[in-house]
């Protein structure tokens, strides 16, 4: 009886091993009529936008079956970990969402996981459909590596028009204006600037805006490619300005998220907020009225400049269904695809020839700026610098925001730049 039992137990273990061996074979499947798209768009306007994009794809390719693999988690933090495991394990999805810029280039292109896709732009005659600055952001050594589906702007100051009217103030245009109005709000017991940096990156985003405003676009670009040092007088002055800005933020900033902080402005609890323009979609979804409950200006001192970030899709090497991926990327890059996705997601298209009438009033304004402004990559969202660098930057910003020690911040920032900047 005992013998039987032990044999039965051993037998139970066998399927586990067989199964483990079998799954590795499944990874190298034959090309099929399937295509797997990997993203972190799981909720709200993002998920609806993705569905609209998928619909366009399915109409164009009725014989293909699209598998929508999503992993939930803000800004893709969980999805990226899953993706890294799959890529390193030789089981890439057919195509995956990735922030355009260094997040794509430094993590996946330099390490030779991606195939260049310049030919898609050439085959479709799209070389001039995207602004050159955007093409530069998704390129490495002259080759394009991903198709940007959307564009968000991160140097926007969101304002509450009612509060400005109440105290007879104008929306700030320069950094000096900002401090002028902030003083008035503070004197009247209103939080001038809402910040919700419980996840740190909103603070990094604010710092990047201040650096652009104080040091200017050329220094901004040089700082993030490693040719400008952090002890440069203009950068030190920017860090000092950031510390001054922190005098006007809400006291509970460390306990709330960026969405909470955005809400403070529309609710009239705070006068201003610096956030990417996905907050406009949030205001719309909460039925706050544009120009009445909320309005916007470019971050003071950055008029004529557009800090962009973008979600894009690329073609991994060894993608199981390469031909289908090319069709998917053609949908992502097409006018139809972008016009289906972006109005719902609350972002603007990366092309400059799209149908503006489909977009909300704010997005139309953003599209006008996108077509004429100087375009710069965002730091907090993987466009300007690599993930390796930005995680370190977040840590330093977290400490800097609390301790406000410019000297030690300069030293720490420079130490990480020495290690991770592309041109040190």
């Amino acid at each position: 009886m005992k013998k039987m039992l032990s044999i039965a137990l051993l037998a139970l273990c066998i399927p586990a091993f067989v199964f483990a061996a079998g799954s590795s074979e499944m990874a190298s499947a034959e090309p099929s009529n399937e295509i797997e798209i990997f993203s972190w768009w799981t909720a709200g306007g993002e998920a609806d936008g993705l569905d609209a994009l998928i619909k366009v794809f399915e109409e164009k390719n009725p014989n293909l079956e699209l598998i929508n693999s999503t992993v939930a988690g803000g800004a893709g933090t969980n999805a990226k970990a899953v993706l890294a495991t799959r890529m390193q394990g030789g089981d890439p999805p057919d195509s995956f969402q990735v922030h355009a810029g260094h997040e794509l280039i430094d993590t996946w292109v330099v390490s030779d996981f991606m195939e260049p896709i310049s030919f898609i732009l050439e085959d479709n005659g799209w070389q001039d459909s995207y602004p050159q600055d955007v093409i530069d952001i998704v390129s490495y050594e002259g080759e394009v590596y991903s198709i940007p589906v959307n564009v968000h702007r991160s140097n926007v100051l969101w304002v509450n028009p009612k509060l400005f009217e109440k105290y007879g103030l104008e929306f700030p245009v320069t950094i000096a204006d900002f401090f002028k109005v902030a003083k008035v709000f503070k004197a009247n017991g209103v939080d001038a600037l809402a910040l919700g940096d419980t996840n740190t990156w909103p603070a990094t985003q604010l710092l990047a805006n201040v650096i652009l405003a104080v040091a200017g676009p050329d220094k901004y670009l040089e700082l993030w490619n490693g040719t400008c040092r952090w002890d440069d007088p203009s950068i030190v002055s920017a860090l000092e300005t950031y510390v001054m800005v922190l005098d006007y933020v809400n006291s509970d900033h460390a306990a709330i998220t960026n969405m909470d902080a955005g809400g403070y402005v529309a609710e009239g609890k705070a006068a201003m907020n610096v956030m990417g323009d996905w907050i406009a979609g949030y205001y719309d979804s909460q039925n706050y009225v544009y120009k009445t409950d909320w309005d916007w200006v470019p971050f003071p001192g950055t008029n004529g400049e557009f800090i962009m970030l973008s979600d894009s899709f690329g073609l991994p090497k060894n993608a199981p269904n390469r031909d289908n991926v090319i069709k998917w990327l053609e949908t992502c890059g097409s006018k139809d695809g972008q016009d289906a996705f972006n109005p719902i997601k609350g972002s603007i298209p990366s092309r400059t020839d799209c149908d503006t009438s489909k977009y909300s009033p704010y997005l139309q304004d953003a599209m006008a700026d996108f077509a004429t402004n100087r375009i710069l990559p965002s730091v907090a969202h993987g466009a300007a610098i690599s993930e390796s660098w930005v995680t370190k930057v977040h840590d330093i910003v977290n400490e800097f925001t609390t301790l406000k020690n410019v000297d030690s911040a300069v030293k720490s920032f420079q130490a990480t730049a020495d290690k991770y900047a592309p041109m040190k």
């Binding site: 993590t107 390490s111 030779d112 993930e387 370190k392 130490a415």
Partner: protein
Amino acid sequence: MYCPKSEKRKSFLIILPIMIVLFIFIYGFIGWSIKVSFSAWDGIIRNNDFVGFANYKELFTFRRFPVDIWNTIFFTLLFMIVCITGGFILAYMIYSGMKAEGLFRTIYMFPLAVAFVISGVLWRWILAPETGINLLFRMMGFSAEFSWYVSTKHIGPFNIALISLVIAASWEYLGYTMAMFLAGLRAIPQQVIESAKIDGAGKLRTIFSIILPQIKPIVFSAMIVIGHVSLKIFDLAYAMTGKGPNFVTDFPGLYMFETTFRGNHYGEGAAISVFMLLLIAVIIVPYLVSTFKGEE
């Protein structure tokens, strides 16, 4: 103990599969992590170049890791003190004939069934400055505020904000230590306590001279359980406060996750996890040694 040879072989065969799995997936990967922690692997592509203690040194060039260690020490101490004294008091109350014992036992044990992630979200709502009890107090007209939730105030290396995490974690584990103590209390022979009473010992005297010495092994195992929970803490802090401003509520587990899976600094991440292993070993190894001694 006598054991025939054929039985020995059979029992060996039975545990063999689990031994293999254990050695590959636990000890094998611990070894692998140690190897990675000495390598230059920084990025998606593996780099096996040996760099000695460079990754460990890198950890101490920034403030974050030393702060994490201090946080772990203080959190562990406070969590242990609250759970063990609180658990004992609760168990003693039930033991000394509280009414509706079954109901209270269930109430105290219930939080243990809630995952740390969920209790983290709950306590965030309760303690955050703009919601929960603070809102309640304001509605009642008090101006006082529990602002230590993510306060950056600190006494020496002790961050005040840790208190909120200790409250949440203790809420979850008090019932567990209570159950352990209750089992221990019920195992004390009634005669011993009665004879103490006859000898004229008061309540406190009985607790300190009779009960506590009797349940010492249970205090010890409760410390081990609580200790290893707090050294590995990740989900509660991740859901409740995150790393906090100036890392007031940061722990090595959070740092390891961000370093490895967000920044792709695999070497550094492995160094953090090896450090965590050493921290846990400080608690577990003496326990194992004492258990083996006891068995001999």
